[in-house]
């Protein structure tokens, strides 16, 4: 009975695993592109269906009818809708996002977006970082001490976090840590390029306000997943080999909990971005979330379109990145 033990696969080298990755990436990007197109079209036509007028936002309540007419002519708003959208699309494919109508009248939207993006990305990443660190600590502590006081405390903190909507959290933080104790600025944004420490200091409260509910969600996920991996036979097996406990926790339990954990992190990105919008306004962070809110209120469809593109791209990129990391972490799947 010679070769019945199954065929011997080759040790998989990285290049083997990256082979299908390229194809997968291509597919994801293609479908992402379609989503992008559909998204911008949806935004464009709904904003046009909505009442309101960018001219009014640009010119204010004092605008005279003549000024409004001139404005509409200047930005081609008197053309048929389809023509307007196609013109935008054409520009988009040439890398031209058009001019802002009302939020920053006449300014190239691409430039505008590039100006706002760093703040959002910085605060968002900072929030993500805080959420991940907090949740790793809380989730691991809770899972390892399941049913004990530590678990109860950590889980309570997590539940408390979820029960604090970000805007409410912002105020609690402002009045507690900022105006109360004077530990952090209540307002404003420092570009990390100017001073990294200053930027972290200034962005701490907004990032924490966004991160708190997320950290809670992540922590609870991690706790559940970790409890599950801790009960996996390979953990018991590792213990039966007499491997030290911290080692088992780190390399067996946590390591294998990472894929489901990261998947949840990826899914929550849309909440982080959503939270950024509200918190940006409260803390006066000049980010893309505020820009999009302004764009929506001002019916500035070019800005709105560009923000849509940016948000869709961020979500797409994050999801692909998470999938990639998961694929890297999980030798079983090249890509899902």
């Amino acid at each position: 009975m010679s070769d019945l033990l199954g065929t011997q696969p080759k040790a998989s080298s990285l290049s083997d695993r990256w082979g299908p990755v390229a194809l997968y990436l291509l597919k994801r990007l293609l479908s992402g592109g379609l989503v992008l197109l559909a998204g911008t079209a949806a935004v464009f036509f709904t904003i046009q269906a909505a009442p309101g007028d960018p001219a009014l936002a640009a010119l204010g309540e004092q605008a005279t009818p003549e000024a409004i007419a001139a404005f509409r002519a200047e930005y081609g708003l008197d053309a048929p809708l389809m023509a307007q959208y196609l013109r935008w699309l054409l520009g988009f494919f040439q890398g031209d996002l058009g001019q802002s109508l009302a939020v920053a009248r006449g300014m190239p939207v691409g430039e505008l977006v590039l100006q706002k993006l760093p703040a959002t990305v910085f605060v968002g990443l900072f929030a993500l970082f805080l959420a991940v660190v907090l949740s790793l600590v809380l989730g691991t502590l809770a899972a390892l001490n399941r049913g004990k006081a530590t678990d109860t405390i950590a889980t309570s903190i997590a539940v408390f976090g979820i029960s604090m909507p970000d805007f409410w959290m912002s105020y609690v933080l402002i009045f507690g840590l900022s105006l109360g104790l004077g530990l952090f600025p209540a307002f404003g944004y420092v570009a990390p390029g100017d001073s990294l420490l200053g930027a972290l200091h200034a962005a701490f409260l907004p990032a924490l306000a966004i991160a708190a509910p997320m950290a809670a969600v992540f922590a609870r996920t991690l706790r559940a997943v970790l409890i599950e991996t801790l009960s996996k036979p390979y953990v018991t097996a590792a213990r039966s080999f007499g491997l030290p406990r911290p080692f088992v926790i780190l390399h067996f339990a946590l390591r294998n909990a990472m894929v489901p954990y990261l998947t949840i992190v990826g899914l929550q990105i849309r909440y982080i971005l959503g939270g950024v919008v509200v918190v940006e306004r409260i803390f006066g962070i000049p980010g893309i979330g505020s820009l999009m809110v302004d764009g929506a209120f001002a019916r500035d469809y070019t800005v709105l379109q560009a923000c849509t593109v940016v948000f869709l791209v961020i979500v797409l990129v994050v999801n692909i990145a998470v999938d990639m990391i998961c694929a890297l972490l999980d030798p079983k799947q090249t890509v899902r």
Binding site: V35, P165, A224, R281, V315
Partner: protein, 277 residues
């Protein structure tokens, strides 16, 4: 019966249920017990601090904040509940359809869900509100649209998991119609994760509704909603901190209850946790 007993054992779940019941009772019959209506203005008592007469103080129109918080809670909960209900029903249906038929149906439906899902939740809701105007129905629709893809995905994934289960196959082998199989075989068996997601979603829907109202895209006044009261309270926080604080704490308590209840439900329905409990 057994699952109910098991739930009774679940301390978190029970505490959550208790809070939810208290909150539900408070918002349902509370307003009737308070001598002031939520819309009764008293210009003699504008921004009165908490007192025996007004345990939560009054707002800028001299309205009793407690009764407004209770009614606002009712409104917020109703809206969130309705939104989640719509999202869950519609989403499950889409998900089952997608997961059962696969192929073309699946492709189209899921791409639409992907599109909805790609938008940051708050921004999607906000855009919808700006575009279609402010009203309770529109908020419900906006929140429902935000959650639709989540339910659709869960329903689809669980459907995919069980569509190859022997009992579904057995049903197919009996020659039953797909719609009957989806309704009587699949739906009852994917209801658990949907239910758990609904409880989690409810908490987020409340947050979303409050967030919308908070930036001024909420229900029409004078109807109060928790977010609306907070938004008002924020404006005169330094004068009358109780309005924001009390409504903020109210929302936290409601969320706490729902979250704990959701945890309990999850423990209950997750067979893995169940085994080990």
């Amino acid at each position: 019966m057994t699952s109910f007993r098991r739930f009774m054992q679940n301390r978190t779940g029970m505490v959550g249920l208790l809070i939810v019941l208290i909150v539900a009772l408070a918002v349902l019959i509370g307003p009737a017990l308070i001598p002031y209506g939520p819309e009764d203005m008293d210009f003699m008592a504008i921004l009165a601090p908490p007192s025996l007469a007004h345990p939560f103080g009054t707002d800028s129109f001299g309205r009793d904040v407690l009764s407004r918080v209770l009614l606002g809670g009712r409104v917020s909960l109703t809206i969130s509940f309705a939104a989640i209900l719509v999202a869950a029903v519609l989403g499950s249906w889409i998900g089952i359809l997608s997961g059962y038929h696969l192929g073309w149906t699946d492709g189209v439906l899921m791409r639409i869900m992907d599109l909805l899902f790609a938008f940051p939740s708050f921004i999607l809701a906000m855009l919808l509100m700006v575009l279609f105007g402010f009203s309770s129905v529109n908020i419900i629709a906006a929140i429902a649209l935000v959650y639709l893809p989540i339910f659709a995905r869960i329903a689809r994934n669980t459907t995919l998991l069980i569509r190859e289960e022997p009992f579904i196959q057995a049903s197919r082998l009996m020659g039953r119609r797909p719609s009957a199989i989806m309704l009587t075989e699949i739906l009852p068996n994917i209801s658990a994760p949907i239910l758990v997601q609904a409880s989690v979603g409810l908490a987020f829907a409340i947050i979303l509704e409050a967030g919308l109202s908070f930036i001024g895209l909420g229900v029409q006044p004078p109807t109060p909603s928790l977010g609306g009261i907070m938004s008002d309270g924020r404006e005169y926080f330094s004068r009358a901190p109780w309005v924001l604080t009390m409504s903020g704490m109210a929302i936290s308590v409601a969320l706490l209850g729902i979250n704990l209840l959701g945890d309990g439900l999850r423990d209950l329905t997750d067979p893995k946790l169940r085994e080990r409990a």
